[in-house]
Amino acid sequence: MTDEKNTQIPDAQAIAEGAEVTKQMVEDYKANAIDMDKMWITMGPQHPFSHGLWTLKICADGEIVTDADPIVGYLHRGWEKEVENRTYPKIIPMADRLCYAASMTYTHLYCMTCEKALGIDIPEKTKYIRIVADEINRLQSHLMWMAAVGTDLGNYTAFLWCSREREYWMDMNVRLCGARSTTNYPRIGGVRNDVFDIDCDLPNEEDHSRFMRDLIRCCDHFDKALWDIIYLIDNNSTFVSRMVGNGIITREQCANLGITGPAARGTGVDYDARRDDPYDNYDKVDFDVPVIKTGDSYSRYMVRVEEMFQSTRIIRQAVQKIKALGRNAPYRLKVPANIPAGRTFCKLEDPRGESMMYLVSDGTDRPYRLKVRSPIFVNVSSSKALLEGCRIADVPVIMAMIDMCLGETDR
């Protein structure tokens, strides 16, 4: 289904032309620039475009933005210091709080880091369960981002439609682990509960895969419903003309600024940690990594939309694998409380980019140091490169494509 409809997405050539036109306009403006006083506008920390507490200072020359300066840290709560006083299992719920939109990925990353430090191999079924959980979170995070794009572009219909679709994945989250956003589901050495135990009140019930049945139904529904939203946004020149050709960064700039994730794939960086540096069992499921070379806001938008289709594809395959492994396969290992002294580094493809954890353990039951690398912290520092030369009206649209999440940025 996904592959047939891909042909409807406008080709890169047209987008590149649009980008050229905007670039030309900006150059023309700079050539004939009238001598106007520049004005610093502070957007934030309380501002409708900043999804969370952060400040973006932009320098406006008339309507053209000439400089930008992001200020983060309003939500700093000393996460990295705080975890040093907690035992390893007690850090799991803390890791949930790193990101409110996709909490599962950070908990997953933390558990993966600990397992790597312990040198244990988790059961096969758990790997697939974690894939499913990750992709559900990726979908709901991307849908929240798409809703925010709707409001940033001045349309509330897109916001509510995306929120409605997000509810289905939220419900799946609730079924899986009982919570909507702070899931507390992965454990060091496995996951908290088996997917076969969900919704099975009767002990002798034959069918133990109701959750997985609903998950597949959810995927089927979503693949259709997402096209409604795509038709609303992509077939509408008021949306597309705002995204095409602004916030352009090149592949080299992207590499120098350290941008990762969908924003990097939108500039032609063909890298996805799930495929190129596979963790868990991502190498055993089949999926495509969307890459678009244009590097404007619209390409970042398209990469994310395509990723949503790929996520449902991954969920379908993972569910099949889980069913094949069966109810009796183990889903959790017993692990020691102490992690031997050493240094461990682990990374994972977050919905927003590449998040990493660096654990220094000293043989006790508490980490000596746990460093988190948040993709948004790096991506948002590229604001100047993204915003230079755009108009004030483009600022929310360009920054929306970064998909701000302050929980992980400020930690």
Partner: protein, 404 residues
């Protein structure tokens, strides 16, 4: 004393026909004035009777029911009636927007009161009870007066739109020009208000609003000029009567589409609501206005929207007429003699058409995003301007070839 009972007091001035009084402020029959006259006969007569009961034979009660005093108090009531009807029409369009938008977005819309209609009242009360907060650094006098003038002109034009040939404030030969003139005043107040608030968002919002409104008034005026040419008059009544057989929407279809777009921009509605673009400029030029001031500015926005719809109805949808259906029973020369002429049928036809025009604007709003300033100016000067001139040329061809 000749006046012995309350009936005598109340009916003291009812003897002479309305149009043959010493002082009648209109050239034509005016229904709201008639209603207000009847109302004042009752209210004023009752007051005069009560005063006479307390102080028999005083001159104040005689003065209260004298014909000229009656007319003057009736004029005050007349304005109240005109405003109340316009206000309720605006409230209904507000409710319509919330309900239709809600359905389009897969939610219910407002739910307070009967079909959610009381939400408008609740919001009005809420903004009314809010504290009056504003920055110390605003230029106070300008800050207050610009807002008052924006609201005032909006209320004024909303009342100036005639609902039928018997429901109007002035029946003036350049009626359309008056409405457009008042419409064009607001951008200046908005611009000055943006400066006065001492806020960068307000400044940018004010400048955006002003540049947009000014550039969209030109194609609007050209289309109005072509409608006037087609009707052969600038009087609103004549323009509507000229559409008694075929609405101007059909000969001036290009103009109709252009005018709807321009009217949307003029009323600062999506996709042209960039003056209050909440994603980048918090609330545009209204950022520093809070409480009831904000509520009234919001209401003024909707009033401007309903004036836009009123103009669309007057120029393109045939006003209060229905093609091939005679409304002589209500509007003809002998209408006053009919017993049911008080029924506001032509006025309701007009309002229903107006709400339909507003429905078009709502439908546009739910499916589009906000466009950029340069796009809007390009669209205004490079697309709508030539289209409006094309419309004028089509009208001229129709007139020269004798089709009209």
């Amino acid at each position: 004393m000749a006046y012995s009972s309350i009936i005598d007091w109340v009916t003291a001035t009812w003897g002479t026909p309305l149009m043959e009084r010493g002082f009648y402020p209109f050239d034509d029959y005016n229904l709201p004035y008639h209603i207000s006259m009847a109302l004042w006969n009752i209210i004023g007569g009752a007051i005069a009777w009560l005063i006479n009961l307390l102080f028999p034979g005083n001159s104040l009660s005689e003065w209260l029911i004298s014909p000229y005093t009656n007319e003057i108090f009736a004029l005050v009531l007349f304005m109240v009636i005109i405003f109340a009807v316009a206000f309720i029409a605006v409230l209904i369009s507000l409710w319509e927007e919330r309900k239709v938008l809600g359905r389009a977005m897969d939610r219910r819309g407002t739910m307070i009161g009967m079909m959610g209609f009381l939400q408008c009242v609740a919001d009005g009360l809420k903004t009314f009870m809010k504290d009056n907060v504003y920055s110390k650094k605003v230029d106070e006098m300008t800050y207050w007066w610009t807002a008052s003038l924006v609201i005032g002109t909006s209320v004024l034009i909303d009342c100036m739109v005639p609902l039928s040939s018997r429901w109007f404030v002035v029946n003036y030969d350049a009626g359309l020009l008056i409405i457009m003139g008042l419409y064009a005043l607001a951008p200046f107040f908005i611009l000055v208000s943006g400066w006065a608030q001492n806020n960068k968002y307000s400044l940018i919002g004010g400048i955006r609003a002003a540049e947009m409104m000014i550039s969209y008034e030109v194609p609007m005026l050209i289309i109005i000029a072509s409608a006037c040419l087609l009707a052969g008059s600038m009087n609103i009544g004549d323009i509507v009567n000229a559409q008694s057989e075929i609405w101007f929407m059909i000969p001036m279809f290009v103009g109709f589409v252009t005018f709807v777009m321009c009217a949307t921009a003029e009323a600062e509605r999506a996709p042209f609501d960039l003056a209050e673009a909440e994603s980048e400029l918090v609330e545009g030029w209204q950022t520093e206005y809070g409480g009831m001031k904000w509520g009234l500015i919001m209401l003024a926005d909707y009033m401007r929207g309903s004036v836009s719809c009123g103009m669309i109805v007057l120029l393109f949808f045939g006003g209060w007429t229905i093609p091939f259906v005679s409304l002589d029973y209500f509007l003809g020369p002998d209408a006053v003699d009919n017993c049911l002429y008080w029924l506001p049928v032509p006025e309701l036809i007009f309002l229903l058409k107006g709400w339909f025009a507003f429905f078009l604007m709502i439908i546009i709003r739910c499916g589009v995003g906000r466009v950029r300033t340069d796009t809007i100016l390009n669209l205004g000067w490079k697309v709508f301007m030539p289209l409006s001139v094309l419309n004028l040329m089509i009208v001229l061809v129709l007139l020269v070839t004798g089709v009209y």
